[in-house]
């Protein structure tokens, strides 16, 4: 399954990229699975996505929780809590 990943703000800077297209293993079916999979990359990935870290996610431009399902071609974004206004 291919998905497009987007990172913003502090996470974009720490991960060193704003977007990537990834081919995730079959067992990655939810955002929780995706986070677990990304965490295996080590370094800033493991550190920034560790339990207790404050980040938010969106699937296809709608805010979503860890339980949300992801499907082929989805756009998944990971970013810090928002600070606009």
């Amino acid at each position: 399954m291919k998905i497009r990943l987007l990172y913003f703000a502090r996470l974009r800077e720490l991960f060193g990229t704003g977007s990537e297209s990834v081919d995730v293993p079959d067992e990655v079916r939810t955002l929780a699975d995706l986070i677990a999979w990304l965490s295996t990359r080590g370094g800033v990935w493991t550190e920034q996505l560790a339990p207790g870290r404050a980040y938010r996610m969106a699937v296809n431009q709608d805010m979503a929780g860890l339980e949300a399902a992801i499907r082929d071609n989805d756009e998944v974004a990971i970013f810090p809590p928002v600070t606009g206004g």
Binding site: A54, D62, F79, P81, V82, T83
Partner: protein
């Protein structure tokens, strides 16, 4: 409904006039202007950069306004949020709400700002004498948004 995410400044007179000029049923326009401060948690801010998530940001703002429209009888809403580099005293955000009576306009305007602060994907980075830093989300903004969940 007018939603805009833009780098350019906006004209408050023009935006507010557009909400009531051609609609004589409008009795009230409540508006909120957010302005770049030079002091945030004690550090002098020289400039600020606003990042957003193109596509989702506009979509989130639209959803927030639609939610407000289900709660109050509104006669027009404008939300403009600037992105890119900003200096102290530069306006960042305008939320203007028109309605027949003031209570609806005030409440909807405050509701939209509270939700914008917690749900619309914008991120502020301050450039201070001590270097750059991403602004942390304020707990009080989460609390402000929660009070509408009744």
């Amino acid at each position: 409904m007018k939603i805009s995410v833009q780098t350019e400044p906006f004209d408050l007179n023009a935006e507010v006039a557009a909400l009531h000029r051609d609609n004589p049923a409008v009795g009230a326009v409540a508006s909120f202007l957010g302005v770049t401060r030079d002091v945030n948690a004690g550090l002098g801010v020289h400039t600020m950069t606003l990042e957003h998530y193109p596509g989702m940001t506009e979509r989130a703002l639209e959803q927030i306004v639609r939610e407000a429209e289900t709660r109050w009888h509104l006669l027009g809403v404008t939300v403009i949020h600037r992105v890119g580099p900003l200096c102290p005293t530069d306006p960042i955000v305008l939320v203007a709400v028109a309605s027949a009576h003031r209570q609806e306009a005030f409440q909807a305007c405050e509701f939209i700002m509270d939700y914008l602060k917690t749900r619309a994907p914008f991120w502020k980075k301050e450039v201070t004498p001590a270097g750059e830093r991403w602004v942390d989300a304020r707990d009080s903004d989460g609390t402000a948004a929660e009070r509408w969940q009744t």
